[in-house]
């Protein structure tokens, strides 16, 4: 009877109900839900594994709020500015925007292709041929603490076998680009057409 229901039973009932609703809703969301078995932070996982292998020499990346270290070529603002016209002209350079569709459509670097890191299965099938044919792939996200560009680059190398040398991370990201007065365009991904 409810009168004899102990506190722990109420807590467990709520916890199980929350788990059930969450799983149902996540399934109903389809591709916009989370894939429960997918590691969305492969760069952090690799950094943590390396730290373990080095017996702590790389000092606990997992517990830090800073970005994981990465072995990709790091692009600064000047590099991004120099390469962006080639990306806009679809001339051997691809800029990948790892942010969400909403942020991308609100404004992105001209010529950049949308590849939201957390929905990469949705975008990459249509992009892989273009990426493999490129001379340079520049990946960016918001900048600051955002690490989605690093996580996406790690997946491109270790899941999709793109050569690491092909990839560059624009570390300042979209925020730095805008602050520097760089051109931005709004709207959906133009596909293979130039912007």
């Amino acid at each position: 009877m409810s009168s004899s229901r102990p506190l722990i039973a109420e807590v467990l009932l709520l916890a199980v109900a929350s788990l059930g609703v969450a799983l149902l809703v996540n399934t109903a969301r389809g591709t916009s839900g989370l894939d429960l078995g997918k590691d969305y932070f492969p760069a952090s996982t690799r950094a943590a594994q390396q730290a373990e292998e080095n017996a702590g020499a790389a000092q606990n990346q997992e517990g830090s709020s800073s970005k994981p270290q990465h072995g990709f070529q790091a692009f600064q603002l000047e590099d991004a500015q120099a390469y962006q016209p080639y990306a806009a002209a679809r001339d051997g350079v691809v800029f990948l925007d790892a942010r969400s569709r909403k942020l991308y459509e609100a404004g992105h670097i001209p010529g950049a292709r949308l590849c939201h890191h957390y929905r990469q299965d949705e975008y990459l099938p249509g992009l892989l041929d273009e990426l493999r044919a490129a001379d340079v792939v520049v990946i960016y996200c918001a900048g600051g603490d955002c690490e989605d560009s690093i996580q996406l680059a790690t997946d491109l190398v270790f899941q999709y076998a793109l050569p690491q040398e092909l990839l560059a991370i624009y570390e300042g990201g979209y925020e730095e680009w805008v602050e520097a007065g760089g051109a931005v365009v709004e709207g959906a991904d133009p596909g293979g057409d130039s912007e």
Partner: protein, 150 residues
Amino acid sequence: MTRERLLKLLALALGIILIVYGVQKLGEPSDFLKSIHAYGILPTQPPWLLNLSAITLPWLEILCGLAMAAGPLRRGAAALSALVLAVFTAAILVRSFQVMGAEGTPFLELAFDCGCGSGTVVIWQKILFNGALIVGTAWVALAARRPADA
């Protein structure tokens, strides 16, 4: 106002706050996932642990909020909410110290997106507010009568 009525009003107010917190986190699951990851409390392996937490915690807040406001399971909802709020608040404090150490920002000037669903917040205010919520939910958990006592 009787103590019982005050308790019900407080539970209703806390319930609404929890529902709002939960709903704010429901929009884009990857946003809340990133926030949890940024705290570095849960490991990235096995992946389901982080992913399951990201999809479940918002619903836990919503269901606890509903239970607090509606009455049945109020004690359990209040106790669970106090526990979750205490863990969140401790995590915000730990991250505050990390940011202070990395950037040298004084505590009273700290502001970042705590993943609480309301964007960038002033941290000392957030911690103070969470402290009040913890006290409130703990009081409801301790003071709410079981149905047999009512």
